[in-house]
Amino acid sequence: MGLGCSHLHGHDFKMEITLRSDQPRSHQQIAQLDEIVHSLIQVPYAGKPMHELLPVATGEAISLYFFDILRKSILSEQVISIKLRETRKNQFKVKSAPI
């Protein structure tokens, strides 16, 4: 583990979510997705100390944690992958096995 991770610090994360759907997307579906992510991820976790929630708050662990939250939501198996951008040089992608 790098020295940087031994000191408490914050990140301005960006998350991309890839969904599977049989229907063409609508504005309503996008709005619904925004609301789900806002209520399940942004509200509970923005500005929160992730190291108090996870044994080791690495990018990998946080990505898996958020992926699990979304897969357990109403979105369920529509969620194919998420990509979490930690810094301009670090990204972490969690995806389910390809069909």
């Binding site: 583990m1 990998e60 670090n90 995806k95 096995a97």
Partner: protein
């Protein structure tokens, strides 16, 4: 059972490195006009410079103790072995591979992937290099890797 085991979830780590190089793209088998038509501004007598961005995509098991697939500094060291040889170089003249292979983005991506895969497989046997993405400009990039259709 962890999430990874239960649902066959994979975790990829994507790390970015930068380097700047000059290239001159041409084929000795083509006429000047044909080269100009094929390579455009990359065919310039003086070559052309780019600020390249190299993203590498690796995957492997998440270590339970460290919470990581691979340490970022270790990945940086591997990437630096590639980029340090390319950075601030004129690839056609300074890199033997590009004396016989046109330094297009495709070939630079292939060169980077092949060498990075050798480095990572030697030091980290449990890690897989999935692909590299090489940005020649912000509007043009090339992916080179294994089973790209799975992305």
């Amino acid at each position: 059972m962890s999430l990874e085991q239960r649902d066959l979830i994979s975790v990829q780590v994507i790390r970015r490195a930068y380097f700047s190089s000059a290239v001159r793209c041409y084929s000795e088998n083509l006429s000047q006009e044909a080269n100009q038509k094929l390579y455009g501004s990359l065919y310039s007598d003086h070559g052309m410079g780019h600020n390249y961005i190299l993203d590498c995509y690796v995957t492997g098991p998440v270590n339970q103790e460290s919470g990581m697939v691979i340490g970022i500094s270790e990945l940086d060291t591997a990437l630096r072995e590639i980029t340090s040889t390319l950075d601030h170089r004129f690839l056609n003249y300074d890199i033997p591979y590009f004396k016989t292979n046109v330094p297009t983005a495709e070939n630079i991506a292939k060169y980077s992937f092949d060498r990075l895969r050798d480095i990572l497989s030697h030091h980290y046997p449990g890690l897989s290099l999935l692909k590299v993405r090489l940005y020649e400009t912000e509007d043009f990039w090339v992916d080179y890797g294994v089973n790209l259709s799975n992305f």
